[in-house]
């Protein structure tokens, strides 16, 4: 495909990202701008519920965001992990890239960095994400990511405590098994 080119994972609702990023490139924006603009388009459109605010709630019903952006010319990287209460994750990652010598900021400290850079703090939950979380709780907190704890995480909600005999034989990484139904990013 002749440049400028944008490719990305997924189709369907995600194609807003390619359209936005390609439009940026054809309007003389940089490739970093294009990636940021494409990612932000998906964040704003909550692509498939797996990008941006109001999706993939944690056990505490909170939506947190992960993002990174990488410059292929300099190999400079900016990233945020478990970013709380800020919608524009890839833009915050861009700020990490542009204005720090670090690679990744996480959690509340990433939120503080974002606020110091002018990003608005707001609740990332939506009615839909709250409903998802409440349904999950009513379904005995299934699926979840706990292993080797009591009560049995395959049938009960927490709080959990470790089994006296240590990690369960089903721990991912031991035999490669039991990963079906664990969900994905």
């Amino acid at each position: 495909t002749a440049p400028p080119v944008v490719i990305h994972t997924w189709g369907g609702p995600f194609t807003v990202a390619a359209d936005a990023a390609h439009d940026a490139l054809t309007n003389a924006r940089s490739v970093l701008d294009a990636v940021q603009i494409g990612g932000a388009a998906c964040e704003n459109n909550q692509c498939d519920g797996t990008v941006g605010y109001g999706g993939s709630p944690s056990e505490n019903c909170e939506t947190t965001l992960d993002a990174m952006i990488m410059d292929g010319n300099t190999l400079n990287v900016g990233a945020v992990g478990a970013l709380r209460r800020v919608k524009h994750a890839i833009a915050v990652a861009r700020h990490v890239l542009e204005y720090t010598g670090h690679t990744m900021l996480v959690g509340d400290s990433a939120t503080l960095f974002a606020a110091q850079n002018g990003f608005k703090e707001e609740d990332l939950a939506t009615d839909q994400s709250r409903d998802m979380c409440e349904h999950w709780k009513r379904n005995q907190c299934q699926p979840n990511s706990w292993i080797g704890v009591v009560p049995d995480p395959k049938s009960s909600c927490g709080p959990y405590t470790p089994l006296e005999n240590g990690a369960s034989e089903t721990a991912p990484g031991q035999d490669g098994g039991d990963i079906k139904g664990r969900g994905h990013d």
Partner: protein, 137 residues
């Protein structure tokens, strides 16, 4: 998760990922998305890559770093993507993963495991984004 790679007319490249991660995660969990080499990776001298899937497993393999390095060693984007996915499948046969790869000439391909994956691309002269279906290996 969305992971993107952009190639400019001047040959410059960038990549990025943004995601809200896995549903019902234990608070504090961070997946593969923001990990360089896992969620995405790019070197303008070679090409770039974006990935999605079971982040708790994928971040152990740095599939995008692997795919770009595969291209650096001469593989096509298709072979590079397939090799990166096969390395994960070898240890985790049921893994859900999708890897999309583009070299610095604009040639692109993808590979997947555990699901029918899709990826999108739009280049010079295209009036809309095209979506490509990818069967699992």
């Amino acid at each position: 998760t969305i992971s993107l790679v952009a190639l400019g007319k001047d040959g410059s490249m960038a990549a990025g990922t943004t995601t809200n991660g896995k549903a019902y995660k234990i608070p504090g969990r961070v997946g593969d998305g923001p990990i360089a080499g896992s969620g995405s990776y790019v070197d303008s001298l070679v090409g770039g890559c974006g990935a999605t899937g079971d982040g708790d497993l994928m971040m152990r393999f740095l599939p995008c770093y692997q795919a770009v390095e595969n291209m650096r060693r001469g593989m096509s984007p298709a072979a590079a993507a397939e090799d990166a996915v096969r390395r994960m499948v070898k240890r985790f046969p049921d893994i859900q993963a999708g890897v999309v790869v583009m070299n610095n000439k604009g040639e692109h391909a993808a590979a997947a495991s555990g699901w029918h994956f899709t990826y999108s691309f739009r280049g010079q002269g295209m009036n809309k984004t095209h979506v490509v279906q990818v069967d699992p290996i």
